[in-house]
Amino acid sequence: MKDKLFLLAYLIFVVFLSSLSSAKVLLIVSLILVLATAALPIKKKLNTIKRATYVCLLFNFLVSLPYFLAGLWLGQDRSEYLLMMTLRSFSLTLTTFTFFKFINLFKALDFSKNLSFLLVIVSSHLLTYVSLIREFREALKSRTMRKLDRRTRLNFYERVLTFFFERSMHTSEDLYQAMKSRGFHD
């Protein structure tokens, strides 16, 4: 029950954060979240804050910054938007990372068979892929004696991407057949 309540609280808080549009309020909320994360009895607090910052920067780099630059190109000042989006993405990410230290998602979603099933599939894929990516990187490191040139690195990344694409296709096919055999499509 505890996990379900935490999940509900998390969802309500996410909606609340998404509704905020004042940079000042978002700044205050972000600061409170950082302090709360630091004060809560969780492991690797600093790491959690760092990860939230990196995710926020990545989001900014891929989404907010291009939008801001497009604004500059069109002669519009979107700096306030950039600040608001930065604070919002940071607070949402930190909220997610912190809340999920307390939520066992498997327990929180056990009211629905379909959701539990989906969660098991997604998490098992994620774990497998994370471990495979680690293996790919270790294998490359193991075979690397000198700094690699750009072409070799591109070959490596291309191979990793192709591998995961092919693997996803293969797994999806397996999954489809498994679900079909259990009567999902009848």
Binding site: E138, A139, L140, K141, N155
Partner: protein
């Protein structure tokens, strides 16, 4: 050649290797035996300088090996050429556009001339029966061929220590037999991990057994271990079924 002293390693909060002391001399053929999750792969990755212990030290030819020593380009070049690891899943090792390029990958890093590279690739591809596939895409080969290709990529460097992580785990009996033949012909220091008890006598002459708690529970001759029922049970390699009162091996 290789020495691990009081080595401890942990993932997150859990120690997977505890107080490991292991000395491997030149030319030895060591088999690391243990059930799944006993820390065999972790141990091999430590020996290959991919993971670093929480406590204890690793000496390679008397030199301490750690993240700092591997940052030295000269040492890194020498170590990576001399100590090579065959991963359990060959797919993670292959990324070059052709089998030829895959085999030439290490040699090109060593700065050899293209003529010598070609000569070595042709020689080793012949040894492993890969000559017809030199222009093929490596990842489209069969599982057994990929395994052979990965091994060829390592042996072409003429290493001194060969580490193999469960090399037969995904192979059919015929490919397993071929791989064992190749391994038995090599005159190298080898450390091979496996959970397959029946293959141990064919893979090496010294056995190191990792127990479920991440400690070495046996280090000695293969025969000595196979005749020690208590140790076999402790290592989780011998068990009894619910309907049978006696312990047995599979």
């Amino acid at each position: 050649m290789i020495e691990l002293r009081n080595l401890w390693f942990k993932y997150e909060d859990e120690y997977v290797l505890k107080d490991i002391n292991l000395k491997v001399d030149k030319g030895e053929r060591v088999v690391i035996l243990g059930i799944n999750g006993s820390g065999k792969s972790t141990l091999l990755k430590i020996l290959n300088g991919l993971l670093f212990p929480e406590r204890g030290e690793y000496l390679y030819k008397g030199e301490r090996l750690n993240e700092k020593s591997l940052r030295d380009p000269k040492f890194n070049l020498r170590f990576r050429r001399e100590v090579v690891l065959l991963f359990q899943n060959p797919d993670v090792m292959l990324f070059n556009p052709t089998v030829y390029d895959e085999m030439a990958f290490g040699l090109r890093q060593l700065g050899l001339k293209e003529r010598e590279i070609k000569e070595r690739v042709l020689r080793w591809s012949e040894v492993f029966g890969l000559s017809p596939y030199l222009e093929k895409i490596p990842y489209n080969l069969s599982r057994g061929q990929k395994q052979k290709l990965c091994l060829a990529c390592l042996l072409i460097l003429e290493p001194e220590v060969l580490l193999l992580d469960e090399p037969t785990s995904n192979l059919d009996p015929k490919s397993t037999g071929l791989l064992i033949d190749i391994l038995q012909e090599l005159d190298l220091t080898t450390v091979i991990s496996t959970h397959n008890l029946s293959l141990v006598p064919e893979l090496g002459n010294r056995l190191v057994v990792l127990g479920e708690g991440g400690r070495i529970i046996y280090d000695g001759s293969v025969d000595g271990f196979l005749s020690d029922k208590e140790k076999l049970i402790e290592a989780g390699l011998m068990h009894k079924h619910r309907d049978k009162p006696y312990y047995h091996l599979h």
